[in-house]
Protein backbone atom coordinates (compact mmCIF):
# COMPACT_ATOMS: atom_id res chain seq x y z
CA UNK A 1 0.00 0.00 0.00
CA UNK A 2 1.38 3.40 -0.93
CA UNK A 3 1.58 6.10 1.72
CA UNK A 4 -1.28 8.20 0.36
CA UNK A 5 -3.43 5.13 0.04
CA UNK A 6 -2.65 4.25 3.62
CA UNK A 7 -3.73 7.66 4.87
CA UNK A 8 -6.97 7.47 2.92
CA UNK A 9 -7.49 3.99 4.21
CA UNK A 10 -7.16 5.04 7.83
CA UNK A 11 -9.40 8.07 7.25
CA UNK A 12 -12.00 5.65 5.99
CA UNK A 13 -11.56 3.51 9.08
CA UNK A 14 -12.01 6.58 11.25
CA UNK A 15 -15.26 7.38 9.46
CA UNK A 16 -16.51 3.85 10.00
CA UNK A 17 -16.11 4.40 13.70
CA UNK A 18 -19.31 6.45 13.57
CA UNK A 19 -21.41 3.64 12.07
CA UNK A 20 -23.33 0.90 13.85
CA UNK A 21 -21.55 -2.20 15.08
CA UNK A 22 -22.71 -4.86 12.62
CA UNK A 23 -21.95 -2.84 9.54
CA UNK A 24 -18.72 -1.77 11.15
CA UNK A 25 -17.51 -5.32 11.63
CA UNK A 26 -18.21 -6.47 8.11
CA UNK A 27 -16.65 -3.34 6.65
CA UNK A 28 -13.58 -3.76 8.75
CA UNK A 29 -13.21 -7.36 7.67
CA UNK A 30 -13.40 -6.23 4.05
CA UNK A 31 -10.87 -3.52 4.65
CA UNK A 32 -8.47 -5.82 6.42
CA UNK A 33 -8.14 -8.10 3.41
CA UNK A 34 -5.73 -5.87 1.47
CA UNK A 35 -3.55 -5.65 4.58
CA UNK A 36 -2.78 -9.35 4.39
CA UNK A 37 0.20 -9.74 2.15
CA UNK A 38 0.50 -12.85 0.06
CA UNK A 39 4.16 -13.48 -0.44
CA UNK A 40 4.75 -14.54 -4.02
CA UNK A 41 6.17 -17.97 -4.64
CA UNK A 42 9.51 -16.57 -5.59
CA UNK A 43 11.90 -18.86 -7.48
CA UNK A 44 14.34 -16.17 -8.62
CA UNK A 45 17.02 -17.14 -6.09
CA UNK A 46 17.06 -20.66 -7.43
CA UNK A 47 16.88 -19.70 -11.09
CA UNK A 48 19.33 -16.79 -10.93
CA UNK A 49 21.97 -18.03 -8.54
CA UNK A 50 21.59 -21.31 -6.66
CA UNK A 51 21.13 -23.50 -9.70
CA UNK A 52 24.27 -22.19 -11.39
CA UNK A 53 26.25 -22.12 -8.20
CA UNK A 54 25.61 -25.75 -7.31
CA UNK A 55 24.60 -27.41 -10.61
CA UNK A 56 26.38 -25.52 -13.34
CA UNK A 57 25.75 -27.02 -16.77
CA UNK A 58 23.51 -29.74 -15.37
CA UNK A 59 20.03 -30.55 -16.59
CA UNK A 60 17.64 -31.11 -13.70
CA UNK A 61 14.25 -32.69 -14.20
CA UNK A 62 11.50 -31.51 -11.89
CA UNK A 63 9.63 -34.58 -10.79
CA UNK A 64 8.30 -36.34 -7.71
CA UNK A 65 8.88 -39.77 -9.22
CA UNK A 66 12.38 -40.32 -7.84
CA UNK A 67 12.29 -38.31 -4.63
CA UNK A 68 9.53 -36.26 -3.05
CA UNK A 69 10.03 -33.64 -0.40
CA UNK A 70 7.50 -33.32 2.42
CA UNK A 71 7.30 -30.20 4.54
CA UNK A 72 4.57 -28.62 6.66
CA UNK A 73 2.36 -25.99 5.04
CA UNK A 74 3.51 -23.45 7.60
CA UNK A 75 6.79 -23.26 9.50
CA UNK A 76 5.13 -23.24 12.93
CA UNK A 77 8.48 -22.90 14.65
CA UNK A 78 10.97 -21.26 12.27
CA UNK A 79 13.82 -22.67 14.37
CA UNK A 80 12.68 -26.22 13.80
CA UNK A 81 10.78 -27.26 10.69
CA UNK A 82 10.66 -31.03 10.23
CA UNK A 83 11.12 -32.04 6.59
CA UNK A 84 11.25 -35.44 4.91
CA UNK A 85 12.59 -36.67 1.62
CA UNK A 86 10.88 -39.81 0.43
CA UNK A 87 12.68 -42.00 -2.09
CA UNK A 88 10.55 -43.74 -4.70
CA UNK A 89 13.25 -46.14 -5.89
CA UNK A 90 15.23 -48.98 -4.36
CA UNK A 91 18.94 -48.43 -3.64
CA UNK A 92 20.71 -51.17 -5.63
CA UNK A 93 24.33 -51.54 -6.73
CA UNK A 94 23.20 -50.87 -10.32
CA UNK A 95 20.96 -47.89 -9.70
CA UNK A 96 20.87 -45.69 -6.65
CA UNK A 97 20.55 -42.13 -5.41
CA UNK A 98 24.09 -40.94 -4.89
CA UNK A 99 23.49 -37.55 -3.43
CA UNK A 100 20.61 -35.40 -2.22
CA UNK A 101 21.16 -31.65 -1.92
CA UNK A 102 18.68 -29.63 0.11
CA UNK A 103 18.05 -25.86 -0.03
CA UNK A 104 15.84 -23.30 1.68
CA UNK A 105 15.86 -20.68 -1.09
CA UNK A 106 15.23 -17.58 1.04
CA UNK A 107 17.52 -18.36 3.98
CA UNK A 108 20.61 -16.14 4.44
CA UNK A 109 22.67 -19.23 3.66
CA UNK A 110 20.33 -21.33 1.47
CA UNK A 111 22.30 -24.60 1.36
CA UNK A 112 20.96 -26.90 4.07
CA UNK A 113 23.29 -29.74 3.15
CA UNK A 114 24.60 -32.28 0.68
CA UNK A 115 23.81 -35.85 1.71
CA UNK A 116 25.83 -38.66 0.19
CA UNK A 117 24.06 -42.04 0.00
CA UNK A 118 25.15 -45.50 -1.02
CA UNK A 119 23.57 -48.84 -1.97
CA UNK A 120 24.25 -49.81 1.69
CA UNK A 121 21.73 -47.14 2.69
CA UNK A 122 19.04 -49.53 1.49
CA UNK A 123 16.45 -46.81 1.12
CA UNK A 124 17.31 -43.17 0.36
CA UNK A 125 14.72 -41.65 2.70
CA UNK A 126 15.93 -38.75 4.78
CA UNK A 127 14.34 -36.64 7.50
CA UNK A 128 15.84 -33.62 9.18
CA UNK A 129 14.94 -30.39 10.96
CA UNK A 130 15.70 -27.07 9.35
CA UNK A 131 15.51 -23.35 10.02
CA UNK A 132 13.19 -21.40 7.75
CA UNK A 133 13.58 -17.63 7.92
CA UNK A 134 10.76 -16.51 5.64
CA UNK A 135 8.28 -17.66 3.01
CA UNK A 136 10.38 -19.95 0.90
CA UNK A 137 10.65 -22.92 -1.35
CA UNK A 138 12.42 -25.86 0.20
CA UNK A 139 13.92 -28.06 -2.51
CA UNK A 140 15.78 -31.32 -2.77
CA UNK A 141 17.86 -32.36 -5.79
CA UNK A 142 18.74 -36.03 -6.26
CA UNK A 143 21.82 -37.03 -8.20
CA UNK A 144 21.56 -40.58 -9.52
CA UNK A 145 24.35 -43.12 -9.94
CA UNK A 146 23.76 -42.85 -13.72
CA UNK A 147 24.38 -39.10 -13.63
CA UNK A 148 20.78 -37.91 -13.95
CA UNK A 149 19.29 -35.21 -11.70
CA UNK A 150 15.75 -34.91 -10.30
CA UNK A 151 14.27 -32.15 -8.18
CA UNK A 152 11.30 -31.99 -5.81
CA UNK A 153 10.18 -28.80 -4.09
CA UNK A 154 7.64 -27.55 -1.57
CA UNK A 155 6.61 -24.02 -0.62
CA UNK A 156 6.56 -23.26 3.09
CA UNK A 157 4.96 -20.26 4.74
CA UNK A 158 6.91 -18.57 7.48
CA UNK A 159 5.52 -18.22 10.97
CA UNK A 160 4.84 -14.94 12.68
CA UNK A 161 4.88 -13.67 16.22
CA UNK A 162 7.67 -13.98 18.69
CA UNK A 163 9.44 -16.87 17.01
CA UNK A 164 12.99 -16.63 15.75
CA UNK A 165 14.98 -19.21 13.81
CA UNK A 166 17.33 -20.10 16.66
CA UNK A 167 17.15 -22.65 19.44
CA UNK A 168 15.01 -22.06 22.52
CA UNK A 169 17.56 -22.99 25.14
CA UNK A 170 21.13 -22.35 23.99
CA UNK A 171 22.75 -23.21 27.29
CA UNK A 172 21.03 -26.58 27.58
CA UNK A 173 22.31 -27.52 24.11
CA UNK A 174 25.76 -26.17 24.95
CA UNK A 175 25.93 -28.23 28.15
CA UNK A 176 25.19 -31.41 26.19
CA UNK A 177 27.50 -30.44 23.32
CA UNK A 178 28.73 -33.45 21.41
CA UNK A 179 26.38 -35.93 23.05
CA UNK A 180 24.96 -38.43 20.57
CA UNK A 181 21.95 -40.75 20.54
CA UNK A 182 21.10 -43.44 18.03
CA UNK A 183 17.58 -44.78 17.81
CA UNK A 184 17.16 -47.82 15.58
CA UNK A 185 13.64 -48.83 14.53
CA UNK A 186 12.03 -51.40 16.82
CA UNK A 187 10.94 -53.35 13.73
CA UNK A 188 14.53 -54.11 12.73
CA UNK A 189 14.93 -57.32 10.71
CA UNK A 190 18.11 -58.95 9.46
CA UNK A 191 18.93 -57.77 5.95
CA UNK A 192 16.02 -55.31 5.68
CA UNK A 193 16.50 -51.53 5.53
CA UNK A 194 15.65 -50.11 8.96
CA UNK A 195 14.71 -46.54 9.90
CA UNK A 196 17.38 -45.05 12.12
CA UNK A 197 17.55 -41.74 13.93
CA UNK A 198 20.72 -39.91 14.83
CA UNK A 199 20.51 -37.13 17.41
CA UNK A 200 23.46 -34.84 17.94
CA UNK A 201 23.47 -32.30 20.72
CA UNK A 202 24.94 -29.10 19.37
CA UNK A 203 23.60 -25.52 19.55
CA UNK A 204 24.38 -25.04 15.83
CA UNK A 205 24.71 -21.31 16.36
CA UNK A 206 24.03 -19.21 13.28
CA UNK A 207 26.13 -16.29 14.48
CA UNK A 208 25.10 -13.07 16.18
CA UNK A 209 25.52 -9.68 14.68
CA UNK A 210 23.95 -7.38 17.22
CA UNK A 211 27.18 -6.63 19.06
CA UNK A 212 26.86 -2.85 18.61
CA UNK A 213 23.65 -2.81 20.57
CA UNK A 214 24.21 -5.48 23.14
CA UNK A 215 28.01 -5.68 23.28
CA UNK A 216 27.55 -9.35 22.56
CA UNK A 217 29.68 -11.02 19.91
CA UNK A 218 29.35 -14.59 18.87
CA UNK A 219 30.50 -16.30 15.70
CA UNK A 220 28.62 -19.08 14.03
CA UNK A 221 29.39 -22.52 15.43
CA UNK A 222 27.86 -25.50 13.66
CA UNK A 223 28.24 -29.12 12.67
CA UNK A 224 29.69 -29.07 9.13
CA UNK A 225 30.63 -32.69 8.33
CA UNK A 226 29.01 -35.94 9.29
CA UNK A 227 29.70 -39.56 8.39
CA UNK A 228 27.69 -42.59 9.48
CA UNK A 229 29.08 -46.07 8.93
CA UNK A 230 27.88 -49.57 9.71
CA UNK A 231 30.75 -52.01 10.24
CA UNK A 232 33.00 -49.44 8.55
CA UNK A 233 30.85 -49.26 5.39
CA UNK A 234 29.55 -45.78 4.65
CA UNK A 235 25.81 -45.42 5.08
CA UNK A 236 25.48 -41.66 4.98
CA UNK A 237 27.77 -38.66 4.57
CA UNK A 238 26.69 -35.07 4.99
CA UNK A 239 28.13 -31.64 4.43
CA UNK A 240 25.80 -29.44 6.40
CA UNK A 241 25.37 -25.85 7.49
CA UNK A 242 23.54 -23.43 9.79
CA UNK A 243 20.12 -24.10 8.24
CA UNK A 244 20.14 -27.32 10.26
CA UNK A 245 18.26 -26.71 13.53
CA UNK A 246 19.95 -26.74 16.92
CA UNK A 247 20.53 -30.31 18.08
CA UNK A 248 20.88 -31.74 14.55
CA UNK A 249 18.57 -34.67 14.06
CA UNK A 250 18.63 -36.98 11.04
CA UNK A 251 16.63 -40.01 10.06
CA UNK A 252 17.94 -42.38 7.41
CA UNK A 253 18.04 -46.07 6.58
CA UNK A 254 20.72 -48.73 6.60
CA UNK A 255 20.73 -52.50 6.12
CA UNK A 256 21.62 -54.48 9.28
CA UNK A 257 22.90 -57.59 7.49
CA UNK A 258 24.64 -58.87 10.65
CA UNK A 259 25.54 -57.77 14.16
CA UNK A 260 27.73 -54.78 14.16
CA UNK A 261 28.56 -51.20 14.96
CA UNK A 262 26.84 -48.04 13.82
CA UNK A 263 29.28 -45.19 14.07
CA UNK A 264 28.74 -41.45 13.73
CA UNK A 265 31.73 -39.18 13.19
CA UNK A 266 31.31 -35.45 12.85
CA UNK A 267 33.14 -32.17 13.05
CA UNK A 268 32.06 -28.61 13.75
CA UNK A 269 33.42 -25.26 12.65
CA UNK A 270 33.09 -21.56 13.22
CA UNK A 271 32.82 -18.87 10.54
CA UNK A 272 33.25 -15.10 10.57
CA UNK A 273 30.18 -14.33 8.48
CA UNK A 274 26.78 -16.00 8.64
CA UNK A 275 26.42 -15.80 4.86
CA UNK A 276 29.93 -16.61 3.64
CA UNK A 277 32.12 -19.65 4.19
CA UNK A 278 35.31 -17.87 3.08
CA UNK A 279 36.77 -17.36 6.55
CA UNK A 280 36.19 -20.30 8.86
CA UNK A 281 38.06 -22.08 11.62
CA UNK A 282 37.92 -25.84 12.11
CA UNK A 283 36.42 -26.99 15.37
CA UNK A 284 36.45 -30.34 17.12
CA UNK A 285 36.04 -33.93 15.99
CA UNK A 286 33.40 -36.09 17.61
CA UNK A 287 32.69 -39.79 17.39
CA UNK A 288 30.08 -42.12 18.83
CA UNK A 289 29.30 -45.82 18.42
CA UNK A 290 26.19 -47.92 18.84
CA UNK A 291 25.93 -51.71 18.83
CA UNK A 292 23.27 -53.25 16.62
CA UNK A 293 22.07 -56.84 16.87
CA UNK A 294 19.33 -57.65 14.39
Amino acid sequence: MAATETIQYYKLIARIKLMNNKIKLSLILMLLVPLVSFAAKDESKWNNSLKNQYFSGVSIQESNDVIEIEAPYRAEDPALVPIKIISKIKQTQQNYIKKITVFVDQNPFPLVGEFGLTPETGKANLAMRVRVNSYSYIRAVAEMSDGKFYMSKKFVKASGGCSAPIGADLDAAMKRLGKVKFKVGKDMQLGEPVATQLLISHPNITGMQMDQVTRFIKKSHFVNQLKVTFNDKVVLTAKIDIAISADPNFRFYFIPNKRGTLKAEFTDMSCESPISRAVCVKGKEYSSEYQVSP
Binding site: I7, Y10, K11, I13, A14, I16, K17, N21, K24, L25, I28, L32, L35, V36, S37, P72, E76, D77, A79, L80, P82, K84, A127, R129, N133, S134, S159, G160, G161, C162, S163, A164, P165, I166, A168, D169, L170, D171, A172, R176, K179, K181, K186, Q197, L199, S201, M208, Q209, M210, D211, Q212, V213, T214, R215, F216, K218, S245, D247, N249, R251
Partner: protein, 303 residues
Protein backbone atom coordinates in the same frame (compact mmCIF):
# COMPACT_ATOMS: atom_id res chain seq x y z
CA UNK B 1 -12.43 -5.51 21.23
CA UNK B 2 -13.64 -4.05 17.96
CA UNK B 3 -13.46 -0.63 19.52
CA UNK B 4 -9.93 -1.21 20.67
CA UNK B 5 -8.97 -2.35 17.20
CA UNK B 6 -10.52 0.75 15.73
CA UNK B 7 -8.85 2.82 18.38
CA UNK B 8 -5.48 1.42 17.46
CA UNK B 9 -6.02 1.98 13.76
CA UNK B 10 -7.10 5.54 14.35
CA UNK B 11 -4.23 5.99 16.72
CA UNK B 12 -1.69 4.92 14.13
CA UNK B 13 -3.23 7.12 11.48
CA UNK B 14 -2.67 10.06 13.79
CA UNK B 15 0.72 9.22 15.17
CA UNK B 16 2.28 12.25 13.59
CA UNK B 17 -0.03 14.35 15.75
CA UNK B 18 -0.04 14.44 19.54
CA UNK B 19 0.44 11.08 21.23
CA UNK B 20 -2.70 9.63 22.79
CA UNK B 21 -2.25 8.16 26.25
CA UNK B 22 -2.53 4.39 26.49
CA UNK B 23 -5.52 3.17 28.50
CA UNK B 24 -4.42 1.81 31.87
CA UNK B 25 -6.22 0.33 34.88
CA UNK B 26 -5.07 0.75 38.47
CA UNK B 27 -5.40 -2.85 39.68
CA UNK B 28 -4.28 -1.98 43.20
CA UNK B 29 -2.71 1.05 44.82
CA UNK B 30 -0.08 2.45 42.45
CA UNK B 31 0.04 -0.48 40.02
CA UNK B 32 -1.23 0.35 36.54
CA UNK B 33 -1.78 -2.19 33.76
CA UNK B 34 -2.68 -1.84 30.12
CA UNK B 35 -4.37 -5.08 29.10
CA UNK B 36 -3.58 -6.34 25.61
CA UNK B 37 -6.02 -8.19 23.36
CA UNK B 38 -5.61 -11.87 22.57
CA UNK B 39 -4.37 -11.47 19.03
CA UNK B 40 -1.44 -12.66 17.02
CA UNK B 41 0.98 -9.75 16.49
CA UNK B 42 0.14 -8.50 13.01
CA UNK B 43 0.07 -5.52 10.67
CA UNK B 44 -3.18 -4.27 12.15
CA UNK B 45 -2.27 -4.26 15.84
CA UNK B 46 1.40 -3.56 15.07
CA UNK B 47 2.46 -6.03 17.74
CA UNK B 48 0.68 -4.23 20.59
CA UNK B 49 -0.86 -7.32 22.20
CA UNK B 50 0.79 -7.80 25.62
CA UNK B 51 -0.01 -6.54 29.10
CA UNK B 52 2.33 -3.69 29.94
CA UNK B 53 2.29 -1.04 32.65
CA UNK B 54 4.02 0.69 35.53
CA UNK B 55 4.36 0.92 39.31
CA UNK B 56 4.44 4.30 41.05
CA UNK B 57 6.51 4.93 44.20
CA UNK B 58 6.97 8.03 46.35
CA UNK B 59 9.99 9.20 44.39
CA UNK B 60 9.80 7.56 40.96
CA UNK B 61 8.17 5.13 38.56
CA UNK B 62 9.19 1.69 37.28
CA UNK B 63 7.89 0.77 33.85
CA UNK B 64 7.25 -2.92 33.33
CA UNK B 65 7.51 -3.74 29.63
CA UNK B 66 7.13 -1.05 27.03
CA UNK B 67 4.89 -2.48 24.32
CA UNK B 68 4.90 -3.98 20.87
CA UNK B 69 6.07 -0.93 18.92
CA UNK B 70 7.72 2.43 19.63
CA UNK B 71 4.37 4.29 19.41
CA UNK B 72 2.87 2.12 22.10
CA UNK B 73 5.89 2.99 24.23
CA UNK B 74 5.23 6.71 23.72
CA UNK B 75 1.54 6.19 24.50
CA UNK B 76 2.50 4.41 27.72
CA UNK B 77 4.82 7.27 28.60
CA UNK B 78 1.94 9.69 28.06
CA UNK B 79 -0.27 7.59 30.33
CA UNK B 80 2.39 7.77 33.05
CA UNK B 81 2.64 11.55 32.68
CA UNK B 82 -1.13 11.84 33.04
CA UNK B 83 -1.11 9.63 36.14
CA UNK B 84 1.77 11.04 38.15
CA UNK B 85 4.35 13.82 38.13
CA UNK B 86 7.04 11.39 39.38
CA UNK B 87 9.78 10.65 36.86
CA UNK B 88 10.49 7.23 35.38
CA UNK B 89 13.65 5.78 36.96
CA UNK B 90 13.54 2.17 35.77
CA UNK B 91 12.40 0.25 32.73
CA UNK B 92 12.08 -3.45 33.47
CA UNK B 93 11.93 -5.80 30.49
CA UNK B 94 10.40 -9.10 31.57
CA UNK B 95 11.84 -11.00 28.55
CA UNK B 96 12.99 -10.62 24.96
CA UNK B 97 9.71 -10.99 23.04
CA UNK B 98 8.83 -8.12 20.70
CA UNK B 99 5.44 -7.34 22.27
CA UNK B 100 7.27 -6.50 25.52
CA UNK B 101 10.37 -4.58 24.41
CA UNK B 102 9.65 -2.65 21.18
CA UNK B 103 8.52 0.46 23.06
CA UNK B 104 11.82 0.76 24.96
CA UNK B 105 13.05 3.74 22.97
CA UNK B 106 10.27 5.94 24.34
CA UNK B 107 12.00 5.82 27.73
CA UNK B 108 15.62 6.09 26.62
CA UNK B 109 16.82 9.19 28.43
CA UNK B 110 19.13 10.30 31.20
CA UNK B 111 18.16 9.03 34.61
CA UNK B 112 16.36 5.95 33.34
CA UNK B 113 17.95 2.57 33.98
CA UNK B 114 16.97 -0.45 31.88
CA UNK B 115 16.85 -3.72 33.80
CA UNK B 116 16.66 -7.26 32.47
CA UNK B 117 17.57 -10.89 33.10
CA UNK B 118 21.27 -11.64 32.77
CA UNK B 119 20.56 -13.50 29.54
CA UNK B 120 18.35 -10.79 28.02
CA UNK B 121 21.18 -9.01 26.18
CA UNK B 122 22.29 -12.24 24.58
CA UNK B 123 18.74 -13.08 23.54
CA UNK B 124 18.45 -9.60 22.02
CA UNK B 125 21.71 -10.22 20.17
CA UNK B 126 20.65 -13.60 18.78
CA UNK B 127 17.20 -12.44 17.73
CA UNK B 128 17.65 -8.74 17.09
CA UNK B 129 18.67 -8.82 13.45
CA UNK B 130 15.85 -11.20 12.61
CA UNK B 131 13.29 -9.24 14.64
CA UNK B 132 14.23 -5.99 12.88
CA UNK B 133 13.99 -7.64 9.48
CA UNK B 134 10.54 -9.05 10.28
CA UNK B 135 9.07 -5.96 11.97
CA UNK B 136 8.24 -4.29 8.68
CA UNK B 137 6.98 -7.43 7.00
CA UNK B 138 4.92 -8.82 9.87
CA UNK B 139 3.96 -5.81 12.00
CA UNK B 140 4.17 -2.95 9.52
CA UNK B 141 6.46 -0.96 11.78
CA UNK B 142 9.88 0.46 11.03
CA UNK B 143 12.47 -0.82 13.45
CA UNK B 144 16.21 -0.18 13.64
CA UNK B 145 19.05 -1.38 15.82
CA UNK B 146 18.58 1.63 18.10
CA UNK B 147 15.16 0.29 19.08
CA UNK B 148 16.59 -2.86 20.61
CA UNK B 149 17.81 -1.54 23.93
CA UNK B 150 19.78 -3.90 26.12
CA UNK B 151 19.68 -3.68 29.92
CA UNK B 152 22.06 -1.37 31.83
CA UNK B 153 21.55 -3.52 34.89
CA UNK B 154 21.42 -7.29 34.69
CA UNK B 155 19.68 -9.46 37.24
CA UNK B 156 21.58 -12.64 38.08
CA UNK B 157 19.17 -13.99 40.68
CA UNK B 158 17.46 -11.26 42.69
CA UNK B 159 17.62 -7.49 42.62
CA UNK B 160 15.85 -5.05 44.93
CA UNK B 161 14.95 -1.63 43.65
CA UNK B 162 13.43 1.20 45.65
CA UNK B 163 10.90 3.57 44.11
CA UNK B 164 10.63 5.56 47.36
CA UNK B 165 8.55 3.90 50.07
CA UNK B 166 8.08 1.01 47.70
CA UNK B 167 10.52 -1.86 47.27
CA UNK B 168 10.34 -4.17 44.30
CA UNK B 169 12.04 -7.55 44.26
CA UNK B 170 13.08 -8.66 40.80
CA UNK B 171 13.72 -12.34 40.17
CA UNK B 172 15.63 -13.80 37.23
CA UNK B 173 14.20 -17.25 36.54
CA UNK B 174 15.89 -20.35 35.13
CA UNK B 175 14.75 -21.14 31.55
CA UNK B 176 10.95 -21.35 31.44
CA UNK B 177 8.78 -19.33 29.00
CA UNK B 178 12.09 -18.08 27.54
CA UNK B 179 15.66 -18.29 28.83
CA UNK B 180 15.43 -14.70 30.10
CA UNK B 181 12.26 -14.42 32.19
CA UNK B 182 12.14 -11.79 34.93
CA UNK B 183 9.30 -11.31 37.43
CA UNK B 184 8.59 -8.31 39.65
CA UNK B 185 7.22 -8.56 43.19
CA UNK B 186 5.74 -5.54 44.94
CA UNK B 187 5.93 -6.02 48.71
CA UNK B 188 3.56 -3.17 49.49
CA UNK B 189 0.54 -4.73 47.79
CA UNK B 190 1.70 -8.38 47.67
CA UNK B 191 1.49 -8.27 43.89
CA UNK B 192 3.50 -10.46 41.55
CA UNK B 193 3.97 -9.24 37.99
CA UNK B 194 4.55 -12.58 36.30
CA UNK B 195 4.39 -11.38 32.72
CA UNK B 196 4.60 -14.30 30.27
CA UNK B 197 5.31 -16.91 32.91
CA UNK B 198 1.52 -16.75 33.20
CA UNK B 199 -0.96 -16.86 30.33
CA UNK B 200 -4.69 -16.57 31.05
CA UNK B 201 -7.10 -17.41 28.19
CA UNK B 202 -4.29 -16.95 25.60
CA UNK B 203 -2.50 -20.26 24.92
CA UNK B 204 0.84 -20.41 26.78
CA UNK B 205 3.77 -20.12 24.36
CA UNK B 206 6.89 -22.21 24.99
CA UNK B 207 10.06 -20.54 23.78
CA UNK B 208 12.37 -21.85 26.50
CA UNK B 209 11.84 -25.06 28.40
CA UNK B 210 8.64 -26.96 29.13
CA UNK B 211 10.16 -28.75 32.12
CA UNK B 212 11.81 -25.58 33.39
CA UNK B 213 8.55 -23.70 33.17
CA UNK B 214 6.62 -26.35 35.11
CA UNK B 215 9.32 -26.36 37.80
CA UNK B 216 8.99 -22.60 38.23
CA UNK B 217 5.19 -22.76 38.35
CA UNK B 218 5.24 -25.51 40.98
CA UNK B 219 7.54 -23.39 43.08
CA UNK B 220 5.57 -20.16 42.67
CA UNK B 221 2.27 -21.92 43.31
CA UNK B 222 3.23 -22.42 46.97
CA UNK B 223 3.43 -18.67 47.64
CA UNK B 224 0.48 -16.50 48.47
CA UNK B 225 -0.10 -13.45 46.29
CA UNK B 226 -2.92 -10.93 46.50
CA UNK B 227 -2.66 -9.97 42.84
CA UNK B 228 -0.85 -11.60 39.94
CA UNK B 229 -0.41 -9.83 36.59
CA UNK B 230 -0.09 -12.20 33.61
CA UNK B 231 1.63 -11.27 30.37
CA UNK B 232 -1.60 -11.97 28.54
CA UNK B 233 -5.07 -12.02 30.10
CA UNK B 234 -6.86 -10.40 33.05
CA UNK B 235 -5.37 -9.79 36.49
CA UNK B 236 -5.55 -12.76 38.86
CA UNK B 237 -7.01 -12.38 42.36
CA UNK B 238 -7.51 -16.06 43.21
CA UNK B 239 -3.92 -17.32 43.07
CA UNK B 240 -3.12 -20.15 42.53
CA UNK B 241 -6.52 -21.18 41.12
CA UNK B 242 -6.14 -19.26 37.85
CA UNK B 243 -2.76 -20.84 37.29
CA UNK B 244 -4.24 -24.31 36.91
CA UNK B 245 -5.29 -24.19 33.23
CA UNK B 246 -1.75 -23.24 32.19
CA UNK B 247 -0.24 -25.93 34.39
CA UNK B 248 -2.66 -28.47 33.02
CA UNK B 249 -1.82 -27.58 29.41
CA UNK B 250 1.93 -27.80 29.98
CA UNK B 251 1.56 -31.06 31.92
CA UNK B 252 -0.55 -32.55 29.14
CA UNK B 253 2.22 -31.84 26.66
CA UNK B 254 4.82 -33.31 29.01
CA UNK B 255 2.93 -36.55 29.57
CA UNK B 256 1.81 -37.09 25.98
CA UNK B 257 5.18 -36.27 24.39
CA UNK B 258 7.03 -38.55 26.80
CA UNK B 259 4.62 -41.31 25.85
CA UNK B 260 5.31 -40.79 22.14
CA UNK B 261 9.06 -40.79 22.71
CA UNK B 262 8.78 -44.02 24.68
CA UNK B 263 6.97 -45.55 21.72
CA UNK B 264 9.71 -44.44 19.33
CA UNK B 265 7.40 -42.09 17.44
CA UNK B 266 8.51 -39.00 15.57
CA UNK B 267 8.06 -35.26 15.88
CA UNK B 268 5.79 -34.87 12.82
CA UNK B 269 3.27 -37.24 14.36
CA UNK B 270 3.50 -35.57 17.75
CA UNK B 271 2.72 -32.19 16.18
CA UNK B 272 -0.50 -33.59 14.72
CA UNK B 273 -1.69 -35.59 17.72
CA UNK B 274 -0.38 -34.30 21.07
CA UNK B 275 -2.47 -32.03 23.28
CA UNK B 276 -5.55 -31.55 21.13
CA UNK B 277 -7.85 -32.22 24.11
CA UNK B 278 -6.87 -28.67 25.16
CA UNK B 279 -7.96 -27.05 21.90
CA UNK B 280 -11.30 -25.61 23.02
CA UNK B 281 -9.94 -24.23 26.27
CA UNK B 282 -7.66 -21.59 24.75
CA UNK B 283 -7.55 -18.61 22.46
CA UNK B 284 -4.91 -18.68 19.71
CA UNK B 285 -4.53 -22.45 20.08
CA UNK B 286 -4.21 -22.93 16.31
CA UNK B 287 -1.58 -20.21 16.11
CA UNK B 288 0.76 -21.49 18.82
CA UNK B 289 0.05 -25.11 19.74
CA UNK B 290 2.03 -26.86 17.00
CA UNK B 291 4.96 -24.66 17.70
CA UNK B 292 4.76 -25.55 21.41
CA UNK B 293 4.75 -29.27 20.68
CA UNK B 294 7.73 -28.83 18.35
CA UNK B 295 9.78 -26.99 20.97
CA UNK B 296 8.79 -29.34 23.78
CA UNK B 297 9.48 -32.48 21.73
CA UNK B 298 12.98 -31.28 20.87
CA UNK B 299 13.60 -30.66 24.55
CA UNK B 300 12.19 -33.91 25.89
CA UNK B 301 14.03 -36.19 23.47
CA UNK B 302 17.22 -35.33 25.38
CA UNK B 303 15.86 -36.51 28.75
Amino acid sequence: MKHLLLGLLVFFSQNTLAVTALSVTEITSGIFVHFGNHELPNKTNHGAVANIGFIVGDSCVAVIDTGGNPEQGYALKKAIEQTTDKPVCYVINTHVHPDHIYGNIAFKQKGVKFIGHKKLARAMATRGAYYIEKANEQLDIKLQEKHIIAPDKEVKKHLFIDLGGRKLRLTAHPTAHTDNDLTVFDQKTNTLWMSDLLFIEHLPVIDGSLKGWLTELNRMEKHHYQYVVPGHGPVVTDWPKSLQPEKHYLNTLLVEIREMLAQGRFIEEAIETVGYSEKDKWKLFDQFHKRNVTTAFAELEWE
